[in-house]
């Protein structure tokens, strides 16, 4: 209740009504969630490294990781020391620098895979969930087709075929940033096989909201289908979408690392998974070239997961139990 001034029956001077929008409430709830805040801090740190990693790295990025000559003064498989904080790997590159340079790729994978995944999932999920009947049937069968594909196998095949087609180390320019084509293809293939689960979730949410009375009320006030979908249902499930998106980022980073580790990623881009793959055969000697990139993946994925859980608790408090 607003503190009232008894003399003039108006709110006290200087009293500012606390903002009570859904987002303000969620933020207040989020701040109380220690795990969520820890996740947010980790994610912000990873983003910071992603942006400034190239400048922070003690050594420049390795131009061609498959080149067989040692790059840094012939210091191959050097254990961690003051010169190479996390040691050097089988190719003679500084592991710390590799991790720092690789952060931007991890974020690129996470964010773009999630963006494409969510875009497809939202379009398919909303149409299927809102219109129902045969449209729903057709779209859900299509979704199931993607769901029952042995996706890992397809990812391996597509990535191999397409990265070979693009040529080794090819890249394109986007807003002045050089982006490797091979990795981009990996991203697209990952996204194409990743959307069905999220589409189902969004469909379910649409079906739930569609039946609520305020949708009927909006219809009674002359709202069109488009208006109901974009203005009334989507904003209502935005919180679920945000939660799923942050978890999808974590999953995509993990998936790309897995694909690269199996040797089917973009061999010309030193992603974290690629570092693991390069040093796998010598793991018993260069444990540092496996453990530290692995830790980078672990911390990043953990951070996004914590953030996702925190968001989930803050945005959908009813789902907690």
């Amino acid at each position: 209740m607003t503190p009232m001034n008894p003399e003039n029956n108006k709110p006290n001077a200087g009293y500012k009504r606390r903002s009570a929008s859904q987002w303000a409430v969620a933020w207040r709830r989020f701040r109380r969630n220690k795990a969520g805040v820890a996740g947010l801090i980790i994610v912000l740190a990873v983003v910071f490294v992603g942006i400034f990693g190239d400048a922070l790295a003690p050594y420049p990025a390795f131009p061609n990781p498959k080149a067989l000559t040692p790059f840094y003064n012939g210091d191959v498989r050097t254990p961690p020391s003051s010169k190479y904080l996390l040691g050097t790997d089988v190719l003679g590159t500084d592991v710390l620098s590799d991790i720092l340079h690789g952060t931007k790729y991890a974020l690129y994978v996470g964010v773009v895979v999630t963006a494409i995944t969510m875009a497809i999932a939202i379009v398919v999920g909303s149409i299927a969930g809102y219109f129902g009947s045969w449209i729903d049937n057709v779209l859900m069968r299509l979704t199931e087709v993607f769901l029952v594909f042995p996706s890992l196998l397809f990812i391996l095949i597509f990535v191999r075929v397409f990265t070979l087609g693009a040529g080794a180390g090819a890249s394109f320019n986007f807003l002045g940033i050089s982006i490797p084509i091979g990795l981009t293809i990996v991203i697209f293939v990952l996204a194409v096989f990743n959307w069905p689960g999220d589409a189902r979730m969004i469909r379910g949410e649409f079906m739930r909201i569609r039946e609520l009375e305020f949708i009927e009320a909006e219809k009674a006030l002359g709202a069109s289908n488009r208006r109901i979908i974009f203005r009334h249902i989507l904003p209502n499930i935005l919180s679920s979408i945000i939660v799923v998106a942050s978890l999808t980022i974590a999953y995509a980073i993990l998936l790309e690392a897995g694909v690269s580790f199996l040797g089917f990623g973009d061999v010309n881009t030193m992603t974290w998974g690629q570092i693991l793959e390069n040093n796998f055969s010598d793991m018993r000697i260069v444990w540092w070239a496996e453990v530290f990139p692995g830790l980078a993946i672990l911390i990043t994925v953990f951070g996004f997961n914590l953030l996702g859980d925190g968001l989930s608790d803050a945005l959908n408090p009813r789902l907690r139990d």
Binding site: L212, E216, L221, R227
Partner: protein, 329 residues
């Protein structure tokens, strides 16, 4: 007699469920006159709400209007396409729902909700829109409109929420307003306020009001004419006074006898039985299994509405042979 605004003729709205076809509204005919308050009364499940949703053509799936005519201002609404209907909803015909806490979008503040309605149908400037919103909130009696319009539905009490819902329904000054049990989910003290407000607004804006309710007290207070519905059929149409004094349909009489009264120590009548299953409704008159006056004929053929005296229609074979007690007997 005032001009007819809405004329419903032989309306059939069925729900095609997996269990079978639910005949929620079956051959319903009545009219709404310009500027009048019409009551639409009946037990839960008698088809009152579905009738209103049919007029707006927003019957939820798997419901469908199967047959009939809904003439509004001389035009058949059932012949209009979806875009034309969208233009009618809110602007010409509006509805207030039972539960204000679920009929407002929880994530937008009141200003946004009202602005959406205003801008959906007409192009007006930002300041004009703001002014209209404040006017509307004043109209429905929400104090401190300028502060409260920035608040969200969950910050309003039930009565205030219903006022917001009313403001939203009235934003475009519709000529016909359905109020679907607008006070059922409110406290008794708030009920009277909301009803008074509706009455006042109806007079001020000169619209027709269709009050959907099962509460005979509200009917007596608010309406001049009543349509009594039972199991998807209309059983009686009469002027409110007439209906209370001389109900002609046994079901109406039972409805009246089920209203508690303080001034008389009388046992409340309970209408025996339940509203019938509408997938396989009783043959003939749908009320006959629960009716103490039923004869063999009632089970055979459904009775049609006949005019027993001016402005008083009843669908019953036995009306001549029975004498029913009104409210004051």
């Amino acid at each position: 007699m005032a001009e007819t605004l809405l004329k419903i003729e032989g309306l059939k709205t069925y729900f095609f469920t997996e269990a079978g076809i639910v005949k929620a509204v079956d051959n319903v005919s009545f009219d709404v006159r310009k500027g009048e308050s019409l009551g639409l009364v009946g037990e839960s499940g008698s088809g009152k709400t579905v009738t209103a949703l049919s007029v707006l053509r927003i019957v939820p799936k798997p419901g469908k209007i199967v047959e009939g005519k809904i003439e509004f201002k001389g035009e058949d609404l059932l012949e209009k396409n979806e875009t034309e209907m969208q233009a009618m909803r809110g602007r010409e015909i509006a509805i207030i729902f039972q539960d204000p806490s679920s009929s407002l979008n929880p994530i937008f503040n009141v200003e946004t909700q009202l602005r959406d309605v205003l801008l959906a149908h007409e192009k007006i400037s930002k300041e004009e829109c703001r002014k209209k919103i404040i006017d509307l909130m004043n109209l429905v009696g929400i104090p401190e409109a300028e502060i409260r319009m920035r608040e969200f539905p969950h910050q309003f009490s039930g009565g205030m929420k219903q006022r917001v819902a009313i403001a939203r329904a009235l934003a475009l000054q519709p000529t016909l307003l359905f109020a679907d049990e607008p006070t059922t989910s409110l406290d008794v003290t708030i009920q009277a306020q909301v009803l008074d407000l509706l009455e006042e607004l109806k007079k001020k804006l000169g619209m027709s009001l269709v009050m959907i309710t099962h509460d005979m007290g509200i009917i007596a207070k608010m309406t001049t004419r009543v349509v009594v519905m039972y199991a998807g059929n209309v059983c009686e149409i009469a002027k409110t006074e007439d209906l209370y004094e001389h109900p002609r349909h046994p079901y109406t009489a039972l409805l009246l006898a089920a209203v508690p009264r303080l001034d008389r120590k009388k046992k409340l009548r309970i209408i025996p039985g339940n509203i019938p299953n509408l997938i396989e409704p009783p043959s003939g008159c749908r009320f006959h299994p629960r009716c103490e006056y039923a004869t063999g004929k009632c089970a055979e053929e459904p009775p049609v509405l006949e005019e027993v005296e001016p402005e008083h229609f009843v669908a019953c074979y036995e009306w001549k042979n029975i004498s029913l007690k009104g409210e004051n007997h």
